[in-house]
């Protein structure tokens, strides 16, 4: 089932074209990697899908409600000194639910704890976010996104500043979640991501779509720091890529 359909999308900051004629369909069982160079328009596309930015031309059709879209921001943008616990962060997923004068309802707390359990972070519920490792913090943000029972989860650079072992653990978790949720990951570091993604959208103003369904997923294990040019080259050599190019 199609969840999001993007057609003829254009976006520019001031007078600089960031996205040109983007066409993309995201299905409910997809694990899509949106890759590309810094400044290529990856995060802009994500913000357009989320509704944080408005398309200047073209259309983004969502077949789901806004609250069914889970979002995991780039956690390096957030203040690690902020006095907040893992549980409080996850409870933010419920912040617009029915108003309660003091604190959160028992149902909200139970749901938040269940989300933390899903990402194996229940034991750290009362830990200050700044005391957790980068990988643990990312799990907490995934738990927050899970709170609203999303159909699709969008993640912006989820493995930034995390070691390779931690990256694998995050992607294993996302692979598990992908059994019931569509996963879209924006990243410029594709070395580990490639093992888990089903499809790749390469963005550098324009979008080129590749299916990875039939590719042998051993590229990243041979070279942890494979660059995008090598990836695209590898995809070309495998003769199975580009089942459709927009």
């Amino acid at each position: 089932m199609e969840l999001i359909n993007i057609s003829n999308l254009f976006y520019k900051y001031h007078k600089t074209d960031v996205l040109e004629n983007i066409n993309l369909t995201i299905k409910d069982d997809d694990f899509l990697a949106i890759i590309g160079p810094n400044g290529g328009g990856k995060s802009t596309l994500l913000k357009l899908i989320l509704g944080l930015l408005t398309p200047q031309d073209g259309k983004i059709e969502k077949k789901i409600k806004n609250n069914q879209v889970g979002y995991v921001p780039q956690n390096t943008n957030l203040n690690t000194d902020f006095p907040i616990t893992a549980l409080e962060i996850v409870l933010m997923g419920h912040v617009s639910s029915k108003k309660k004068l003091f604190g959160y309802s028992k149902e909200d707390i139970a749901c938040a704890m269940a989300s933390l359990s899903k990402v194996s972070m229940a034991d750290f519920a009362n830990s200050k976010i700044g005391d957790l490792s980068g990988g643990q913090r990312q799990r907490v943000f995934i738990a927050r996104a899970l709170c609203s029972n999303p159909k699709i989860m969008l993640l912006d650079e989820p493995t930034a500043s995390i070691d390779v072992k931690g990256q694998r653990e995050i992607y294993e978790l996302l692979k598990e979640l992908n059994k019931s949720i569509c996963i879209v990951v924006v990243s410029h570091d594709i070395s580990v991501l490639l093992n888990y993604a089903k499809n790749v959208a390469h963005i550098n103003k324009n979008l080129v779509y590749h299916s990875l369904e039939n590719i042998e997923k051993n590229v990243s294990t041979q070279n942890e720091h494979l660059c995008e040019v090598e990836l695209l080259s590898a995809l070309g050599k495998s003769h199975v890529c580009c089942d459709h190019t927009h």
Binding site: Y71, F82, E88, I89, V95, S96
Partner: protein
């Protein structure tokens, strides 16, 4: 020394000190975690325009300062939400122009000879019973708003992008935080003055941040620390016959320095 407690002005000083400390602990925490100390400084100094205007027109000084500070807070919120690129220059201009307006109105007031230094550096022993009623109302308002909107304020302060996605009106709550900061500044003017109020908002909070794992516990701890600093500062002020506002701030700075050195040595 306890005999000084029988004097009304000392009782007023203690009560107002506690009231200000509660407000400063709560709002100071929001100021520090939102990194809006400079904006709050701008609001504090702009409110001097309200003081001058109030003296010139004959309305209560704290009321004049409140209206002026709230209008400044709303203006700063509108400007910062629209474009942050030149915000430091704009705040600097509002900071100075507010003070200039205050000075001009005071100059234009015929026969005015009240010590203006008390509004710049504070004079907690000059706090009247009416001032205490006003501070109490402001405290109740600040606590009520923060408690009722705690979840929203926490979400906006920590991750405004996610808060927007959850349907929270980020612009409204950002403006609300600045208005609360303006009200807190006005409540503290009589005690520590415009120039020193920022120290009372930031020093106890900065100290509390190291020990708190929640924003709510940071607010409570900051309020307790601010109360301790205020009362200790008053005692020092009385013992050495020096300015109360400056004594309060120096006690806070000394404790902060000692704690940071001890933490660094560990």
């Amino acid at each position: 020394m306890l005999e000084i407690l029988q004097y009304d002005f000392i009782q007023n000083a203690l009560i107002s000190g506690i009231l200000i400390s509660i407000a400063a602990g709560i709002i100071g925490s929001l100021v520090v975690v939102n990194k809006i100390t400079f904006l709050t400084g701008g609001i504090a100094h702009s409110s001097y325009g309200g003081i001058g205007l109030a003296i010139y027109t004959g309305i209560p000084v704290l009321f004049g300062a409140t209206v002026f500070a709230v209008i400044t807070a709303i203006l700063i919120a509108i400007i910062t939400l629209k474009n942050r690129t030149r915000i430091d220059a704009i705040i600097g201009m509002m900071w100075a122009s507010g003070m200039a307006i205050g000075i001009i109105f005071v100059d234009l007031t015929p026969g005015y000879n009240v010590d203006l230094m008390s509004y710049l550096f504070g004079s907690i022993i000059a706090v009247s019973s009416e001032d205490i009623y006003y501070m109490t109302v402001l405290d109740i308002f600040i606590i009520g708003i923060v408690v009722y909107f705690y979840k929203e304020i926490l979400a906006v302060s920590y991750d405004s992008e996610f808060a927007t996605l959850r349907g929270i009106n980020v612009k409204f709550f950002y403006t609300l935080i600045l208005i609360l900061a303006a009200l807190c500044v006005v409540a503290a003017i009589k005690a520590v003055g415009l120039i020193l109020v920022i120290a009372l908002l930031t020093i106890p909070t900065y100290l509390a941040e190291s020990f708190a794992s929640r924003l709510s516990s940071m607010m409570i701890l900051s309020s307790i620390l601010a109360t301790i600093f205020t009362i200790s500062g008053l005692v020092v002020s009385y013992a050495y016959d020096i300015s109360s506002g400056a004594s309060i701030i120096m006690v806070a700075v000394l404790v902060l320095g000692v704690v940071k050195v001890l933490k660094y040595k560990r």
